[in-house]
């Protein structure tokens, strides 16, 4: 990822004048202004705010620097519940969507005449607004008129009150989550599959291996880095789940707060309670957790890789 070529930037004999520095500066100016105000400054400010106790946003007054916000967040029952919920969500959605996506990617990898149709069908969720689509899923999960309950009734099962039952609400969110995570995963896995050197596969076929054997012993191991990568990216996305939640449950964190997630906690602290300090602290806690988990995963994957 880091630059591979070392390009000599400046020639030793090139005269550095004010003019030669002015030009790149002007080209970079719009970019730098935008990034500074809306990315760099907020990034550092988030850290700063998280340490400001009793921070009042508009006036900027705070009582002093300290760890009070972090204390509040990390001991808060709601936050810990949110963490638990979020982790549960990730643990269900990421593995299942990865497995399903792998299957689909492998099947999509064979050229077929319906490529265009399949690509459209499987990748469409990428470009669509979570709010709008969440609404559709709400309709699908509707107790009285939803298609899902209809299908259930056809196979003799009872209709489930998806959106009002705390346990089933989780299932609903997970199903929706898997559905929306798959397109991105399929694309990445497909790209990874296409990067696998054909020669390995041909050699295996010539050796007489069955397709399932080829898949298990050659394709999957060679694909392992890509799979690992997608799992990490998806884990990070999963931890930030919010839009889907918002859409499916109309802005509430699920029936009886059953789907209270970390970002929801942050949103509440920030928008509803105007407690910027704790909101910032919770965001930062989340991202430390995610970073640590990512590093853990990378470490494990590296160990795994030594076959």
């Amino acid at each position: 990822m880091i630059l591979k070529k070392k390009r000599t930037n400046f020639d030793v004999d090139e005269k550095i004048t004010f003019k030669t520095l002015l030009k790149p500066f002007l080209y970079l100016l719009p970019f730098i202004i935008s990034i500074s105000i809306f990315t760099i400054y907020p990034f550092f400010n988030a850290f700063l705010i998280s340490f400001k106790e009793n921070y009042k946003a508009l006036s900027g007054i705070f009582s002093g620097f300290g760890l009070a916000n972090y204390e509040y967040v990390l001991t808060n029952e709601t936050f810990l519940l949110a963490l638990k919920n979020t982790v549960t969500y990730v643990l269900w959605v990421v593995p299942i969507s990865t497995a399903l996506s792998l299957l689909v990617a492998v099947m999509l990898n064979r050229k077929s005449k319906l490529q265009a149709f399949f690509q459209t069908a499987y990748f469409l969720p990428l470009v669509t607004s979570a709010i709008a689509v969440g609404l559709v899923w709400r309709w699908l999960f509707n107790f009285d008129y939803g298609v899902i309950n209809f299908v259930l009734s056809q196979v003799g099962a009872d209709a489930i009150n998806w959106l009002n039952n705390p346990t089933y609400a989780k299932v609903a969110l997970i199903v929706y989550g898997i559905w929306s995570m798959m397109p991105f995963t399929i694309i990445l896995l497909l790209a990874g599959l296409q990067n696998i050197n054909e020669q390995y596969l041909i050699a295996a076929k010539v050796d007489g291996s069955k397709p399932t054997q080829i898949f298990a012993y050659i394709t999957v191991p060679l694909l392992a880095p890509t799979i690992g990568l997608t799992m990490i990216v998806n884990m990070i996305t999963g931890f930030k789940v919010f839009n889907e939640l918002f859409a499916l449950f109309n802005g509430t964190p699920g029936p009886a707060y059953s789907l209270y997630t970390v970002i929801y906690f942050m949103y509440e602290q920030f928008y509803v309670k105007y407690r910027l300090g704790t909101a910032a602290a919770s965001a930062i806690v989340l991202f430390f957790i995610v970073m640590i988990l990512t590093l853990l995963q990378l470490y494990m994957q590296r160990k795994w890789k030594n076959y």
Binding site: N9, F10, I16, T20, K23, P24, Y27, L28, P30, F31, S34, F38, T39, P42, F43, N45, L103, V104, M107, L108, S112, L114, Q119, A121, Y122, F123, L124, L126, V127, S129, A130, I131, A132, V133, L135, V136, W137, W139, L140, Y145, V147, F150, W179, M182, I187, L188, L190, A191, L229, T230, V233, N243, F246, A247, N250, I263, F270, Y271, A283, F287
Partner: protein, 276 residues
């Protein structure tokens, strides 16, 4: 014997794919079909698939009552302005990081790469305060200015620019070209596919942006489509056929975009994943 085996697997995978595909697009199909049904029909059990009496009433209601036409216009304006500005800053910055020389260029770029991974959720809090302090709360401007530059897109474009041979640059220089002309007359046309891809990804993100809009916009007239849909639920009552119409209005433009530009979008996404 072998031929038979192959065919079976092909058939099996085709069938499975078909089933999967149907499940994947079912929500969209259902959305569009439901939006064309009457209230009565939408609440029938067993549910009908195709509308027996297709009607555009829901759309008319959405466009007239909840001002979806207005929302659409807002979304359009915000998206177009956002993407234009972002492309502009990105092209200039990518050029500076690839072709121009200045001390610290590569170090600064490496630092930016490190910052690529900063999640938006961390920045929301401060950006919200900034917008408030600038007095831009509840304006379309507030929906645009935080999103006028992207490190990620700059990274992609800069890498592409690097692949354009130096000799082209020197050739143009010797021909008397200024840097500005070289950028716009030579580099940008050569980079067209990459630029289109970035613009498409940007468009999709801008069109679908929701959370930020909810935070920053209060008045109805300034809402963009995603927010409009959300508000419609509360304001329009639980009339699902209308909600489906609203959802379709948001989603349809992006579906159409996807149908036309599928290759670019897919390649852009796979590049995006690999950035990690």
């Amino acid at each position: 014997m072998k031929k038979k085996k192959l065919k079976f697997i092909d058939l099996l995978s085709l069938t499975l794919l078909m089933c999967g595909a149907c499940i994947m697009i079912f929500p969209f199909v259902w959305m569009i079909l439901s939006s064309l049904k009457t209230q009565v029909e939408v609440s029938t059990i067993p549910p009908t698939f195709f509308p027996t009496k297709a009607t555009l009433d829901n759309y008319i209601f959405a466009l007239k009552t909840a001002p979806f036409a207005r929302y659409f216009l807002n979304s359009l304006i915000v998206t177009v302005v956002c993407v234009t500005l972002t492309m502009f800053t990105t092209i200039l910055a990518a050029f500076a990081f690839s072709r121009l020389k200045f001390p610290g260029r590569d170090i600064i770029f490496a630092a930016l790469i490190a910052m690529m991974m900063i999640p938006f959720e961390m920045l929301i809090i401060t950006n919200y305060t900034t917008i408030a302090k600038l007095g831009l709360m509840d304006t379309l401007v507030a929906l645009v200015i935080p999103f006028t530059a992207s490190i990620f897109y700059t990274y992609i474009l800069r890498n592409f620019f690097l692949s354009i041979p130096d000799s082209l640059y020197y050739s143009a220089k010797v021909d008397g070209s200024s840097d500005w002309k070289y950028l716009w007359w030579v580099m940008v046309p050569i980079a067209k596919p990459t630029i289109i891809t970035i613009a498409l990804l940007n468009t999709i993100a801008a069109w679908n942006s929701f959370l930020w809009t909810v935070l920053v916009i209060n008045s109805t007239n300034n809402r963009t489509l995603p927010f409009g849909v959300f508000a419609f639920i509360a304001e329009g009552g639980v009339r699902y056929e209308r909600l489906m119409a609203a959802a379709t209005i948001v989603v349809l433009p992006m579906i159409i975009l996807f149908l036309f530009a599928r290759k670019y979008i897919v390649s852009g996404v796979s590049r995006g994943g690999i950035k990690g």
